[in-house]
Every structure is written in structure tokens, then in C-alpha cells.
Amino acid sequence: MSGNSEPKKYKNPVLNWIEFRLPIISYFQKEYGEYPMPKNCNYFWSFGALATITLITMIVSGIFLAMNYTPHTEMAFDSVERIMRDVNYGWLLRYIHSNGASFFFIIVFIHIVRAMYYGSYKFPRELNWILGVFIFLLMMATSFLGYTLPWGQMSYWGATVITNLFSAIPIVGEGLKTWLLGDYTVGNATLNRFFALHYVLPFVIFGVVGLHVAAVHVHGSNNPAGIDIRSKNDTVNFFPYMLIKDTIAVCVFGVLISAVIFFGPNLMAEVDNYIPADPLVTPAHIVPNWYLAPFYAILRAVPDKLGGVLLMFGAIAILFVLPWLDTSKVRSCNFRPMYKWFMMLFFVNFFVLGYVGMLPAEGLYLLIARIGLIYYFGFFIVITPLIGWIEKPKELPLSISDVYLGGGKEAPVPVSEKEIH
């Protein structure tokens, strides 16, 4: 080793040795040490870190569950019950995993609400948003596959209903469905491949999360004022300030999820899934997981098989083009007096859709679902482009540090202006 020619950046010679060959030390120092975070970021900005930690917890608990799970129609249900009764701390692992999924969606929903309200999806972070929607899609697929594995009644009939969506596609639909199932109905072949995919998809998510984080670090994080970083005065270093802040968020999150895991582990579960799968008897009322319910409500609100399926997938697909539907130059809804309220209504509407999605599709619930469906798409296709044109935004602060000084008002700064970095 020609030690003399190698630069000595660090005191520790091992770090120098690694750094010279793979500059990973300086990368982490730059991206997680000195990385400048806007100093006005509130706790909404902790949900990315929370989501990452939850993803890792899900992967780890999932691997340990898989060590005791048997993906076979005859044995799957019993193996889950064995996990609950006989495996050491198996009940804890399973409740961490099942409630972790619910909390993962709660966190990601808040993360998305944050991005929408503060306009994080706008220039120059569009690709970041697209990657995020892609992660959301993968999460929905993964959670659906995972819900099939305990092989209870809801598992079986949920899988049956969702895979039947594909039969709505004209001509190739039936063939496609049979190919996906590997059988004429949801059977052992289906369970095996669902288990295989449920195991691998989280690692795909992990990879896309890596891209998602790398992308946000290129132009830096957005902030509640939605304006660009102008100088060193606008930021604090990620370490230790944001790390400590995120740690506090993780502690609060830990208390909340522990309360549910230990005192109400089945609050967000469906009791029918504790009945073993029976291909001859459908439960009276099939309910999706709560986090898929808004989309399920859209599916049922349409009185046409293909139309319902298209709108349900369209409800997710339309998120991809949100950066181009929004015509306003101002990012943060704090400075958008009109759009702010439509945005709030959108969140409420999404919640209502989820609520009626868990209830039978009849009478008033169906009507509410249809109104919700119209607002959901109307918000993206009509309201978002239109408000951007007619709304007069409030004056933006000159810089992030001015937010604290309270002075120096100026006309809105176009977000397209290149950042000072």
C-alpha cells in the first residue's frame, strides 16, 4: 500500500483507506452530516425518516415471520396460528408486522399530504414526486399480497376480488387473470407466487426509496414557506439538528405504535380473517384494508365493471401528472388563499371516501362515494389548473430567515428561479 500518495482527510486511518477506494465516508458526511435543511421545516418533514424506519422494521419483522410461515393452502392458516401461540414472541412479530403496515400507510399518507400542501412536487422536484407515487403503488401491491398470506376468509376473498379486476380488461382479461393466479381460482399456485412477490417487493421499494432520497438531496428539501434556500442563514445542518428532531419524532411514533401493538393489536384488522379460507362461502361483507378503502370506494361507485377498474387505477395514475396539472408558481399553500381550502377539502374528501369504502355499497353511502369520486378527479383535472390561473397568491417572504424576522415583504419569487447552492 503506497500510503504516502493517499490523502489524509480523517484521523482514523481505516476511514482514509476506505475513502480513497470508495468515497462513501465523505458521501455520508455530505448527505447526512452537513446536508443543509431549511431551518423552518416543521415536524411534517420528519415523516420521510419515519417512513424509512418503518420500512426497515417491516422488512426485518417480515423476514423473521417468513422463518415460521408456510405458504401452502393447507398449512398457511395453521402456521400463522402457530406463530401466534407457539413461536417465541411470534405474536409480537406478527402484530408489529400487521400494525406496522397500517402505520406505514398512515405515515406515507401524511408524507403525501405534506408534499401536496407545501407544493413539494413542483419544479425542480417533479421526478422525486413521481418516484414517491411509484413507491406508493408498490406499497399498495405489497400490502395486498401480504394480506393474502394468512389465508383467512378476508385474505382469500380479497385476493379473489382484486385479481378479478383484471378480468374486466376486454378480450385478454380472463386469460390474464388465469395467468396471474396460475389456476382457475385463487389456489395454492397463487399463494406461492404471492408469498414470493411479497418477500421481494419490499426490497424493490427499498431501492426506489434510495433513489427518492438521492433525488431530494440534489435540490434540497422543500420547506413550509415553499421558497428556495438563498444563503447559509436559511439552513441548519442535518447533523445534529434534524437528526435529533427526527429522533424525537421516532420516539413519539414508537409510543403510539406500541400502544396499538400491545393494547389494541386488532383495532385495524378484520375479524373475519381469523376464519380459515373457504372457497365455497363468501363473507357477507368483504372489506379491504382501511388504507386501500378510498380506492375501493371509487371502484364500487362506478356502475360499470371496466369503468370502475379504470377509474380506480386512474385515481392513482393521475397523481403522477400532478406537477404539470398545477399551474401556480407558488409552492406552499400557506401563500395560496384559495387553493389552500380546496386542498383541505381534498384531504377530507379522501378520508370520507375511505370511510364509505369500508361500508356496504348501497343507498346514501353509494351517493357519498359518487360525490367523493367526482371531487377527487375534479380537484386534479379542473380545480388545480384553474385556481393556478385565477388565484392571487400572498406575498412570499424574501428568504427563509426572513420568515423569522417578519419583515422584508416582496412580490412572489418565481419558483423556477435557480437555487443558490
Binding site: F64, R82, D86, V87, N88, L92, L93
Partner: protein
Amino acid sequence: MTDNPDNKRRDFLQLSTISIGAVGTAAFIWPFLKSMSPAEDTLALGTTEVDVSSIEEGQSVTVKWRGKPVFIRKRTKDEIDEAKTVNIADLKDPEEDINRVKKDEWLVLVGVCTHLGCVPLGQKLTDSKGEYNGWYCPCHGSHYDTSGRIRKGPAPENLAVPPYSFLNDTTIKIG
């Protein structure tokens, strides 16, 4: 560093935060690691009862205990004498035959070679019993005598004696 009381306070806070974090992490990891050790239903299979009334002198049976083969042999007079007259000093893993059995005619052994875990031959009448008339491991050539003691070959120890007891004259409980 030490003169300023504020620094001491900070050191204390930092150390206590890290310690509590470490304890919390360890407490979180423990259930995960513990989940890999044998589950309750596996432990429940930890004992096996065997009816030995039908075993004739000179015969052996193999039963499964905790997933492992256990040899139960009703030894002949010759075999017992052979086991008892060995010069203990010559043995690789010195052990008196009297310490390896509860009743002279009944020898109970875990049938797993102490070398690398193969099952030695010698249970069937047609099997090779090795040079010492006990068991012979075909994998790497270890020879065991009529007390299941290692006499020749790479195995380091005698065949293990599992915990067992006689429930009555004809029933052995292993485990």
C-alpha cells in the same frame, strides 16, 4: 472541558441518551432473536416414551427423540462383560460403563456420531458393528464399543447418553 459545569451536564445528557438508546435497541432486538429458538410446540415434543417389552436380548431399536435417533439396546451377557472389562486408561474419552447405564442390560444412546453428526451403523443385525462390536460410523470411520464409547477413528467423544428414566420395567421415558 471539565471546568465548565455546562459541559458536564451535556456529557451526562449525551451519555444517558446513548445508554438508554442502546438498552432500548437491545430490548427491541431480543424478541427477534428469541423467535428463532425452538417454539413451544417444538419443546413439547422434547420427551419420548418407549415400550421396550418386545426387545429381545442382543436386539436394538431406534426411536426418534427431538428429531434425533436414539439407540436402545438390550445387551447380551458377553457385551456387558466386554464393556466392563476394558482398561479405562486406554480410552480416548475415559468413562466407566457403570456411569453410562442405569440397568446393565439396557444401553440408551443418542445415535449421532460425535465427529460430524452422521448416524453410526450397528443397529441392524446385518450392519457392520466396527472393530469393537458396537457401532461403526461409515462417514469417517469411527468405531464405538458395546458401551458406545469411542475406541478408534476421528470422533472426539463417546456417543452421548440422553437423559432418561424407567417409568416401569418395560417403559423408558427419554428426555
